[in-house]
Subunit: 345 residues, 4 copies
Amino acid sequence: VAHRVAVVGASGYGGVELLRLLAAHPSLDTEVVAAHSQAGTPVARLFPNLPGDRVFDAIDVEQLAALDLVFLATPHGPALELGAALYDAGVPVVDLSAAFRLSVDGFSTWYGEEHPRPDLAAGDPAAADDVVYGLPELDRSRLAGARLVANPGCYPTATLLGLAPLAPLLVPGSVVVDAKSGTSGAGRGTKDELHFSHVHGDLAAYGAPAHRHTGEIERWLPGELGPISFTPHLVPMSRGLLATCYGTVRDGVAAADLADALHDAYAAEPFVEVLPSGTFPHTKALAGSNGCQLSAVVDQRTGRVVVTSAIDNLGKGAAGQALQNANLLLGLEETTGLTAIGVYP
Amino acid sequence: VAHRVAVVGASGYGGVELLRLLAAHPSLDTEVVAAHSQAGTPVARLFPNLPGDRVFDAIDVEQLAALDLVFLATPHGPALELGAALYDAGVPVVDLSAAFRLSVDGFSTWYGEEHPRPDLAAGDPAAADDVVYGLPELDRSRLAGARLVANPGCYPTATLLGLAPLAPLLVPGSVVVDAKSGTSGAGRGTKDELHFSHVHGDLAAYGAPAHRHTGEIERWLPGELGPISFTPHLVPMSRGLLATCYGTVRDGVAAADLADALHDAYAAEPFVEVLPSGTFPHTKALAGSNGCQLSAVVDQRTGRVVVTSAIDNLGKGAAGQALQNANLLLGLEETTGLTAIGVYP
Amino acid sequence: VAHRVAVVGASGYGGVELLRLLAAHPSLDTEVVAAHSQAGTPVARLFPNLPGDRVFDAIDVEQLAALDLVFLATPHGPALELGAALYDAGVPVVDLSAAFRLSVDGFSTWYGEEHPRPDLAAGDPAAADDVVYGLPELDRSRLAGARLVANPGCYPTATLLGLAPLAPLLVPGSVVVDAKSGTSGAGRGTKDELHFSHVHGDLAAYGAPAHRHTGEIERWLPGELGPISFTPHLVPMSRGLLATCYGTVRDGVAAADLADALHDAYAAEPFVEVLPSGTFPHTKALAGSNGCQLSAVVDQRTGRVVVTSAIDNLGKGAAGQALQNANLLLGLEETTGLTAIGVYP
Amino acid sequence: VAHRVAVVGASGYGGVELLRLLAAHPSLDTEVVAAHSQAGTPVARLFPNLPGDRVFDAIDVEQLAALDLVFLATPHGPALELGAALYDAGVPVVDLSAAFRLSVDGFSTWYGEEHPRPDLAAGDPAAADDVVYGLPELDRSRLAGARLVANPGCYPTATLLGLAPLAPLLVPGSVVVDAKSGTSGAGRGTKDELHFSHVHGDLAAYGAPAHRHTGEIERWLPGELGPISFTPHLVPMSRGLLATCYGTVRDGVAAADLADALHDAYAAEPFVEVLPSGTFPHTKALAGSNGCQLSAVVDQRTGRVVVTSAIDNLGKGAAGQALQNANLLLGLEETTGLTAIGVYP
């Protein structure tokens, strides 16, 4: 029996990637494809990979409340409201925005707003048990019973997958994350700085040192590693994200300890591949997939480990992971409708 | 029950795309992954989207002869030999090269070689009944009984899908095909002209006026449209192919007749989408898919119709179509393991 | 002694390219950098290659009328007005828009507007003698005395340079021009279809069969070749334009005649290079330059010649050619401040 | 009076960029264009931006010894030999390779070879006075009298311009440099990993933690900042290099001190532009130029400064800087034939 689901905020890139994945999912039926600003517009006008006559629906909470699961792919503002309403109505929600990822304090610090529902802030001590930060490889224990999943951000996903197993072996205060993303991570909005003529052949940092994902990484990185330096860059490709993570290794920790920590963490994971030290993950290997590839190398001269971690920002960094979380929440096989194999070349 | 298949010539781009598609196919097991020049090399060293320990196998005809179907993705030279040996051994073959697409005369004209087996030249009057040119949308009647399928070239696929339904309505001698392809169509070989530093930001024609696909298009374009002009171009993208086809419309033929011809040809096809006249297909909408999108517009001033037809050159233009043909040959549902939805953006 | 010049409409791509070229010109001083919508904005905010404190000026016709030459790089609407005012005030103008390129009838047909000043329509029989279509390689005789130069469009420049010398040798009605441009040709305006995430890895035709440059090509192509088919495409690169031109060769004309015609036309030209038949021009070879490279090959099977002609759409296709025209108009050495050597790779 | 110069190793990207710049230089005549492996090959076959009949010359030391200056753009192996021979013959040399940049010990450590000529190792205490590391913005005092200039590497140029003025204000051992380069930095050699199909849409680190430029940066970074972490990445663009540099600020140093240090260092420099803190340099703004743009921002939470520094790797990172050094060496105006304005967009 199929589960009836909705994608709300379907006119953004997270939304269209969900539609693509859901079209191939054997047991989820996409009943609603809602987008506030585009209601009535044919989906194909925005996304030519989805030809046909389907138009974006308006958002109707009552209609959504009758479904089996709702994916929210809106900005965090509308998500705060919709997520709370649907949670209160008892509908399982996977939210791709930042609305429910942090603590109440963290939300206030990084988003400049009061969080209206401490019980729905997955990173808060006051969060309800069925409100869960959805990075299954770090902790999938509570996802089966979750009602509201805060789907991680793209940069935090790559960074946490790369650093979390190593965190106990690193010196507090030593972590630097230099991250790079394709343009789809910046959304579908037309802006001067996303014009093809400007991005083609260009590379630049942006948003440092106060990008909001910094707070999310710090909240979910295990241990007490203290504030981290995080600098994102815009790379001339449409998909793909690479986090290059530096940390000073604690005294007495050997390179083999780091390798073992990564191997132990991911040996059984279907979507994470640890590459041999000295080789480096390529974002393109993950294009269109839910996979993550990473590797670590220790620099004995400086005492630092360098971890590079690659994902598709719309896959494991957004829609793919959302579907993985939905599978877990609904009691389906975790890998259904997903692949770790990217479209290459 | 799964069918046991092989991919021979798996180290090329057609090969790796087949491996990706086969990994998700529910009823085909990839028993052999052979590549003459790369035997013993880990697949992951060439194709990072396929991590793991699998190595390329050597080519062993006896081993292949014990399988249920063999995909040949080698150059046409080895394919001539392997295809004949496997056909004689009774193993179904889908060949992605040009070895079996033309007539004996056409092969001699365009490839400068005698064809050793007229019975296996799908375009020859002497071809056996179970040797078939595999463009299902034009004629899928004989694919169920085929033993050797000559999988069409990338440029011919896009061009024929665009022009074949219109051929009876066009003036002989009037057809010009201006085609553009991403670099993966030129293969994995490292050459100066495929160096990223040279292709990035560049565009050029090549191979005109004697590109070998000209002969294939002329052989399979219905009617007596006479010689065509065909000019391919290399475009700075890794996948995607667009054929812009011009033809003079016969006297008395209306724009609506052309539209009807396209609609009638493809209304029931799962992989071909005819877009409204005045809109234009985008190659990116098909990335990673087996789909084709096309549209036609008539220029009343010049009396010409302009058809643009887009595919993924490695999908519908190679591996996707090969799998579609294999599905038909094996009696499986034609769409199994395939999608018409590209990875976008 | 330096000539004092202005760039009006300097916030578009033609404008910024003029600013770059003028900064290196030894005898032109850029006194005014005007942009109606951006007056007061720092130039560097839009164009980071021009750092510093200079801000866009407002448009002040009186101020402009005191200069030695004005480059107009606005859309054709404002150019019609400004160009007429400055012409009447006796200031030499080089206009990069379509305002003054056609006849009055052509303007009405392709732009849907009455042309207010037949005497300033360079393509009209009523045009004044000092109003000149500025493609020096076709006719530079009147540029020295010009007061208003209609700078050709990007597609017409490449097409005319490729086809004009061959026109007498071609069959009327047989010409097809399949053109491809980088995104800067579409301007700086932010639009969905120019978003990097959409253009990257994509290729599509647009605007066929009624792109406005069709009329400009037909107006200035010598001989009576009749209506042509013109189809532009958007290519994933920021600069570069290639016109692939097809025409049926008249009976009795040999391939050598075509080669001679091209050679004779351009042997002494500093900015046009005819490549050997069988090789093909690369747009990247012209990046940032005022050069054009082209070659022709005859297909004996079809009786057609295929000419490919490459330029930088912002160079020879816009700002470079404007400066070349200004040099001629002002009596300077034609090549001053210009190069035929592109930035490669 | 023109100086007669040669480019040796002219078939590489540093070489072709020199040829482009020299073609526009008013007082340098390029007498010899030598390339060992390509002698006799037309330059235009490799570099279509340089059409014409000129062929690469063979390398003839006697011929070179009669010139006024020789640019060496070969790998460091041949450069060691040629540079020494020409120096001994009294011909001024600007060498773009790593042959003469380090100390004898450093060369042995990072290049695994004995340096044959301590007197020609610019980074060695034993170096002759007229053997100079050529980064004019750090120290141009000895360039006027130099006979052998070791032209800096691309990564060191961007990194040193970004960090050198700040070095006294940073904590030893705290520096991390995360660098990103376009593919032209990897040279013209055809390799699997430089194939367009692989690089397009891809991003990866490489060579960490032992890239040879690490040693060069450590050698020339002022102060005793200890070993640094250096990780280069390959970015899908042909030109452009960005170094993102992290360092912990010493106690008591204010953000304004860092800003002042940068401003004081570069206020009078024609090729270095310090952007306002909070804005970020774009590599594309420098394409084809000899400019560098950089900015610094302090993260009070972590106590680190983040400096991003952008250049064209073939411009200020190679050929442009070589010409700047040659100008100084020959007593010409330092900026002759160079620009800080990139080709944008």
